[in-house]
Symmetry: C2
């Protein structure tokens, strides 16, 4: 817990005393994790630094010591999310077979919605609010990835392996559907009698989504 360690500088036992850099890294991580959750739930405007500090078990003043401005903290959270998403991208390039490539990508996206729902929610909030902070990322990384995908789809279409649809329309459907399981979590739970899907149900749902998507492209 940040602020509880009173390590005097005289205590020179090397492995007991953490360097300032290590302390900083540790506390920043603590705050970032809390911030991701609070920002996801309340949005940038709705979240307060006091809430985030409390959730992270850090005095409010310390939060401002590490992240002077609330907006700084928010940007760092966004940055981390973008980095996590860059990984999911790569789940595509491995296979030449459309069923394996597309199915694999959908499974990765579904897994990401399960493991990092907060990231997806913050992304959605950002885009709903006009995409101010993620604009550049969309115009570069996302756009390039989309164009790569469109080229690959064109090849598959020319080979007659998938249906003739605007790739973008299909990919938007994939994004929308997979992220729905993160962003609309609370709605899904309410419709499921208040209970979240257990991992068995989620796995089954994932395979159904894959099945629907592949069939929509006439694969198999």
């Amino acid at each position: 817990m940040a602020g509880k360690t009173k390590t005097k500088s005289k205590d020179s036992t090397a492995d007991k005393r953490r360097s300032k850099a290590a302390i900083r890294e540790e506390n920043e991580a603590l705050i970032l994790r809390a911030a991701e959750e609070i920002f996801a739930e309340k949005g940038f405007g709705g979240a307060t630094t006091a809430q985030i500090a409390e959730y992270a078990n850090v005095p409010k003043a310390n939060l401002h010591y590490y992240f002077p401005k609330k907006a700084d903290l928010y940007r760092r959270v966004i940055e981390d999310i973008c980095n996590a998403w860059l990984d999911a991208r790569n789940a595509f390039d491995i296979h030449d077979d459309p069923a394996a490539a597309i199915g694999g990508y959908i499974r990765v996206k579904m897994e990401l919605s399960r493991s990092r729902p907060h990231g997806s929610k913050i992304w959605a909030s950002e885009v709903i609010s006009g995409a101010g902070e993620v604009q550049e990322y969309i115009q570069t990384a996302v756009k390039e990835w989309l164009q790569d995908m469109e080229r690959q789809f064109k090849i598959w279409q020319d080979e007659g392996r998938i249906a003739q649809v605007t790739p973008r329309t299909f990919l938007f459907m994939v994004w929308a559907t997979t992220q729905h399981y993160a962003d609309f979590e609370s709605q899904i739970n309410l419709l499921n009698g208040g209970e979240p899907l257990d991992s068995e149900e989620y796995k089954k749902t994932t395979e159904e989504v894959v099945g629907l998507m592949l069939r929509s492209l006439n694969i198999k």
Copy 2:
């Protein structure tokens, strides 16, 4: 513009002087329209009454005269949105043919995303934030509609007219995809070179979405 009309009570020309009730209705509508847009962009916490008042061309004090609490205003906006969504529901019950029924519903949802994107965005923000204000609506109206749909899907499935998939998984896909075109408008525009889809492109996209969805159920 509210507040600019200085109609003296002496001016008794009946058709020139609007009744207080009419004035109220008019100004409430003005404020509600502005509120829907600002809340959609900023969320409840991020929006300020000052912004809404300015956007509605109404002094801030007047906004609080019509809607004493910010939360009152928000609830009224949510209420209006729910009412609009209740209409879309009914686009299903008309046809016995699954292609016509489902296709028609998707077209209505896509049209709603086009005509009332703010409503969809506010709904999404609410659900992302834990669905506090829409919880009851989800548990009653939405749930009942979903269950009706599941019964209808079961019939079609028993008749062998659509694929054997959990109807809920399919319907979530429909919601996610159609609402994506409202909620992720700014992302879609950025990926489209900064330009929104024109009505021709949107119409084409709608038909592609319908095609993908129906094919995913093995219809046609």
